[in-house]
């Protein structure tokens, strides 16, 4: 039995391992931080959010300030998928972001069917926006 945890991570309840959902690579014990099985790179945020204003003219260019903010990119060691992009101030300890009770998880899934493809939920928030826009247009007698 495998339980999907994120777009790129699942937990194999039988082996108690974190696994890559793209290539099946085992990242390590599901009772431990999955990040320990990944590769990390300290990315200069200006490579991802490139300066749009001329840096010769302006200090603030739409790029994050690299002295304030770095992007830690976490890759699957086998397939190179970008599993997480963590924005942190330089030197800040990476966050232990997922810490699940594996025994409880096993119990919870004892009677559940395995899910291999995640369900897609309806975008209820967006539906509400569109409904309200239609209502507003009616109330105020015109379309935006």
């Amino acid at each position: 039995m495998k339980v999907l945890i994120t777009e790129y991570l699942r937990i194999n309840l039988d082996t108690e391992q974190w696994e890559c959902r793209r290539c099946g690579h085992e990242h390590g014990s599901a009772r431990d931080n999955y990040k320990k099985g990944l590769l990390v790179y300290d990315r200069d945020p200006r490579e991802v959010h490139k300066p749009l204003l001329d840096p010769a003219k302006y200090e603030r260019t739409y790029s994050p300030d690299p002295n304030w903010c770095r992007i830690l990119e976490y890759y699957c060691a086998q397939c190179g998928t970008l599993v997480e992009a963590e924005y942190l101030p330089p030197g800040h300890p990476p966050l232990h972001d997922i810490e699940l009770d594996i025994d409880a998880l096993k119990l919870q899934w004892k009677d559940r069917q395995e899910v291999t493809e995640p369900p897609v939920g309806p975008d209820l928030a967006l539906e509400k926006v569109l409904n309200h826009r239609a209502l507003h247009a009616r109330t105020h007698g015109h379309q935006h």
Binding site: L4, K50, K57, P64, Y75, A104
Partner: protein, 757 residues
């Protein structure tokens, strides 16, 4: 004092203290309890007798219709810009002051905070012989310390008596804006104490026999910059509540008091039960997220918000300990009750939008915070710009909840990355072209880009982060009523995108100037100029940083008269890089700006922002990349460097094979440059925050809070359990000191030169 006192004596002492309480300030017993109260004996009696479920359903529908009708009245007749675009609510409360239902289109946050002032009235005024609560009374309130989102919002609250019995409460609230604060518009980032925040109404009676008391209305009008608006909207809210009252009385006449009171209570209990059921469905464990706010709106400084969500059975605990300390003289603090209202909004907007909009949603959730932190500030702290941490609360759910929720077999709503979470709009004030004094903010606040979804890109400029019910108002009215002139169309902000397998919905550019006013100015209140604000999900990137751009010292109207083609197109990046208007002072600034005068024809430019991205950029369908190029949302440079697509720039035809190869190479390059986590941490992790960043909040231990005195660059830490506020120096004083030092250094240099000569 005696060591022992009798019970009788104790009663006397309690009564004496109650009668002689010098000040009925915000009451922690009320303000720290966000949950529904235990059933009253009346409610218990009704529910034990049992209710007909069909009738409950029917009554609930009628209440909803009544709330909707009252909502529409305020929406159509309200004078405040906020009323026009839907920043309002109408609500109904149980007799003991639990908020049962709000109008379906009302702002959700209100559902989680409007009950506090009603509980205050119930606790203090009902039994007070100098006040009392009677049929026909109405109460007003705006101070968020007594409950509320923030002090721009004014409420009208009314008890409903039926056959002599108080059976429920009704209310209407509008974001009025202007409230007589030290800056126009009601949200002064310049407020350095609570006494700079303008009028602060604790709940008081302003209506008797269903009529406004003119003496008090005059006092309130006298306290704000927009006396006409103050009166008009008090009338509008009163009439809406009175209409609501008529409708509810009709329900009472038809179905009886038990049906109404029972339905209200049952609605709360059913919602709470459903919440617990959904919590049980999630796995037990803890997920965490950090959010970084990079400005106090007066200076750049990094403030951490730390959140751990723990699920255990049907308990859900949100732990915010380790967050930044409160600022004693900055406006970006919030009280915990307002912060919780934003949390409720975020849950209903981002995670479970199908749940009823009631306080019962938050009721089963336990919330832990450090006292005197920026999200749990004391009453004396200024909190006029509490929106800053509150907008973070709206989106705080997206990362940790999706990590808990992803495994749940039932998907109640789409998985969405963080929406753009800044109030990216111009706040304005001054004299209109008609000679009236005014202050408020533009409806562009409603154009936050949606976060990317697990199955699709985010929608552009979808809604404000605090409500899916707000529309971008009436642009035309804005220009008729104020000297603000929009230059150019509202173009989507090209290349300013939260990248991912699916990208965030984008924001648009706002380019504004003023004409025809003797005195006009703008302010902006956004963070994220150095540290991006809207976070991506599952490998998706955040939005970029955003800046406030200015072209000062010119008059665009004169320039256009001289040469109608001086500006080819009003596009921020082009204007700033090409600098086509000669003699202008072009500057790129932090998105937080206190009120500043805009001379006729000077140009101010900001963007609404993008939501966060979802998933690995290398998984983005090349067709979607081409679509973004075709729609001019993105430059070729980013299509190649971020998404790694090989294609023909003219035809936009993708070379699938070459793209697959390039992407495979890129994955290999990642594997080569990445380091194993533990080895990486040895090099990366520092024991303390960087010395060149003014940092506030915990670092590697949530029980230790770091702070800086930027005046002397002195860094220190304190226990989270005994946090004190941070007093910030005036940024202008720091600048003066810096200039003086420069001046002295130059003088010394000159003297040295002269002595040599």
């Amino acid at each position: 004092m005696h060591d022992k006192i009798s019970a009788e004596e104790q009663v006397l002492i309690d009564k004496f203290l109650a009668d002689n309480k010098l000040f009925l300030g915000p009451d922690p017993e009320i303000m720290r309890n966000h949950s529904i109260q235990p059933r009253s004996s009346v409610e218990d009696e009704i529910l034990k007798k049992g209710l007909d479920t069909h009738q409950v359903h029917h009554v609930r529908g009628l209440i909803n219709a009544a709330l909707s009708e009252a909502f529409s009245m305020v929406n159509q007749m309200g004078a405040a810009p906020g009323a026009k675009w839907g920043d309002l609510v109408t609500g109904i409360y149980t007799a003991q002051g639990d908020l049962a239902m709000i109008a379906p289109h009302g702002i959700i946050a209100f559902a989680a905070c409007c009950f506090y002032p009603i509980r205050f009235i119930i606790k203090n005024w009902i039994t007070d012989p100098t006040v009392g609560v009677k049929d026909g009374d109405g109460f007003i309130h705006n101070d968020a310390r007594y409950g509320g989102v923030h002090n721009t919002d004014q409420s009208m609250m009314m008890p409903l008596f039926y056959k002599g019995e108080l059976v429920c409460w009704l209310s209407s609230t509008i974001h009025e804006g202007e409230n007589g604060a030290c800056e126009p518009g009601g949200m002064p980032a310049a407020a350095e104490s609570k006494y700079d925040e303008g009028i602060k109404m604790s709940p008081f009676k302003v209506v008797e026999n269903f009529r406004l008391k003119r003496d008090l209305v005059t006092f309130l009008q006298n306290s704000v910059r927009d006396p006409k608006l103050q009166l008009e909207d008090m009338k509008v809210k009163l009439h809406a509540v009175m209409r609501l009252r008529e409708r509810i009385i009709a329900i009472l006449d038809q179905f009886g008091r038990d049906a109404l009171m029972g339905t209200l209570r049952l609605h709360l209990e059913d919602t709470e039960t459903e919440m617990r059921r959904r919590i049980r469905e999630m796995p037990d464990g803890t997920t965490r997220v950090l959010q970084f706010m990079d400005s106090s709106l007066r200076e750049n400084c990094l403030q951490k918000l730390s959140l751990a969500i723990t699920v255990k059975g049907e308990r859900l605990i949100m732990d915010f300990r380790g967050s930044a300390p409160q600022f004693m003289n900055r406006a970006v603090n919030t009280n915990i009750a307002s912060f919780k209202a934003a949390l409720c909004t975020g849950l209903l907007q981002n995670i479970w939008p199908d749940l009823p909009h009631t306080m019962a949603v938050l009721s089963p959730i336990e919330i832990i915070s450090d006292r005197n932190s920026i999200i749990d500030a004391e009453g004396e702290m200024p909190q006029a710009m509490s929106l800053m941490p509150m907008f973070k609360a709206c989106v705080a759910w997206t990362i940790p909840m999706n990590k808990l929720n992803y495994s749940v077999p039932t998907r109640y709503s789409a998985i969405i990355a963080s929406q753009y979470d800044q109030a990216a709009t111009f706040i304005y004030g001054g004299l209109t072209q008609h000679g009236d004094v005014t202050g408020n903010f533009c409806s562009d606040i409603n154009g936050n880009g949606q976060g990317a979804r697990s199955h699709a890109d985010g929608e552009h400029s979808v809604s404000p982060v605090f409500g899916f019910m707000c529309d971008s108002g009436e642009q035309e009215i804005n220009e008729e009523d104020t000297p603000i002139i929009r230059l150019g169309a509202q173009r989507l902000a090209k290349d300013r995108i939260g990248w991912g397998k699916y990208r965030g919905g984008m924001g648009y550019e706002q380019i504004a100037t003023a004409r025809g006013s003797g005195m006009w100015g703008f302010m902006t209140g956004c963070e994220g100029s150095k540290f991006p604000s809207a976070q991506g999900l599952f490998g998706g990137y955040s939005c970029p940083s955003y800046q406030l751009l200015k072209i000062k010292g010119i008059n665009i109207f004169e320039e256009l008269r001289k040469d109608p083609k001086v500006v080819e197109v009003f596009d921020i990046v082009e204007l700033m890089n090409k600098q086509p208007i000669k003699g202008g002072q072009y500057s790129s600034n932090d998105m937080g700006m206190t009120f500043e005068l805009c001379n006729e024809g000077e140009i101010y430019m900001i963007c609404q922002g993008s939501g966060g991205g979802y998933g690995d950029v290398l998984e983005r369908d090349p067709k979607l990349v081409m679509k973004d190029l075709a729609e001019d949302l993105m430059s070729h440079e980013n299509a190649r460097d971020i998404y790694k697509v090989v294609y023909d720039e003219k035809t936009l035809i993708v070379d699938e094979q070459a793209t697959a190869e390039l992407r495979a190479q890129t994955r290999l390059a990642r594997i080569q440059r990445g380091k194993p986590f533990e080895q990486f941490c040895i090099e990366w992790v520092k024991p303390e925050p960087p010395t060149n960043v003014p940092y506030f909040g915990s670092w590697n231990d949530n029980s230790v809070i770091w702070t800086v005195n930027p005046a002397i660059g002195l860094r220190s830490n304190m226990p989270a359990s005994a946090m004190s506020g941070v007093f910030m120096p005036n940024p202008k004083d720091l600048q003066i000191l810096q200039l003086q030092a420069q001046n002295e250094a130059l003088k010394a240099k000159l003297a040295a030169c002269e002595s040599k000569a």
